[in-house]
Symmetry: C2
Subunit: 221 residues, 2 copies
Amino acid sequence: MVVSTTTVFDQATHWPARFARGVTIYDEGEPSTTMYRLQRGCVRVQVNGHDGDRQIISFLFPGDLFGFCLDQRTASAEAVTEVEVTCYSIASVLDLNGRTTEVLVELVNRANGAFGELAHHVEKITHLPAAERLIWFFNWLTHHDPEAAATGIIRLPMNHRDIADYLSLKPETLSRAFRQLETRGYIQRSGRRGLALTRHALALRVRSPEEFHALEARPAA
Amino acid sequence: MVVSTTTVFDQATHWPARFARGVTIYDEGEPSTTMYRLQRGCVRVQVNGHDGDRQIISFLFPGDLFGFCLDQRTASAEAVTEVEVTCYSIASVLDLNGRTTEVLVELVNRANGAFGELAHHVEKITHLPAAERLIWFFNWLTHHDPEAAATGIIRLPMNHRDIADYLSLKPETLSRAFRQLETRGYIQRSGRRGLALTRHALALRVRSPEEFHALEARPAA
DNA sequence: CCATCCCCATGACCTGGATCAATATGTCGG
DNA sequence: CCGACATATTGATCCAGGTCATGGGGATGG
């Protein structure tokens, strides 16, 4: 997914804001009066179960627009890192003289895009084993981070618990999946938050799971 | 979710159509030129994995609007039963003299609504055990079917394989979950497609999983 | 700069759901 | 109405991932 360069929204009333690490930006069920563009940092969108359980729906990166419900929040958003955003008044976005249609079409497309991405996310986490979910996550991350795409080096902005809740795994299982990929030579880790995809893993990107399994059968040196 | 009574769309170019059981209405990736309102029957929206795997995202019932992407299909839609729909030209929907804003706001809301519902669907299927997923499905169905809501009797339009793919279970596991709920007195079955929620199960609707587990500990007679 | 606390790693074990296999039971076309 | 095929049920066994427990290491904030 490519970072948007659209500026239509900037014709609406807008102002900057910051959120500290871990802070809730909005909660499910709240009335929706503001939408956001992420300028710096990382945000998670999530659904909280009755018990403490949490499903992370999506991570957002600089350039991403979020919170564009018109009535009521359907999920929560929290700052993964310290975050800088631009806030847009939804009321004023819906009243952009002459360009309202353009803005609304953009919102329909973004909402449908988010739906489609989530649909595929579900398909993955319900059908892939732990290690493959993780590889899929790395590839997804790479598509959102130009630097990672260029260098193959990923700096994870979130902790393992967040990744686990995104992939619907427990932290222990995630940890073992990391180790597995490292042992097999798909990734190299540096510290807790840094990793590089090896050419091995890069090759996997465009491959089918059948081929992935074949590769598993003959692990790298 | 309540059946919509909005008629704004009917001012756009529209025509009726039918699809036989099992037929694909549209496929992921296709250009999006038409949207639909379901008049009769049941439709499934799904994502197909590379291998034969399938994740059903949502079932649609009479009154539901679907296929309102503006550019490209992000998922597939198939007829679960024989189906009657009204088709609307998307181009003409986007060109309703004077009411375009109204229509677009409606589409944004529906797209966000679908996103929110899917987000909660994911949270359920990743956190609940098989039997509770099934109860949750019954309750969801009930909310979409006024007759079921009134009588507590559900006529399932889809087969077990579809339900399994919706709840992310294998048919064998689903079958055991059915049996479990029947044995415990939460449901009574009549034939393969008919079932009634007992007062036991009705009570569960508004309950927390903690209470559900407590009830499991002392099963009904 | 240091102490504390969260976060991550790893081992041992358990379990819910998947898988494999064998029947039943509907359902639909003829 | 009947035969054949698809769809459900049920049992036996397996295994990926969850759970529980413990120890080590880095980030963080005072």
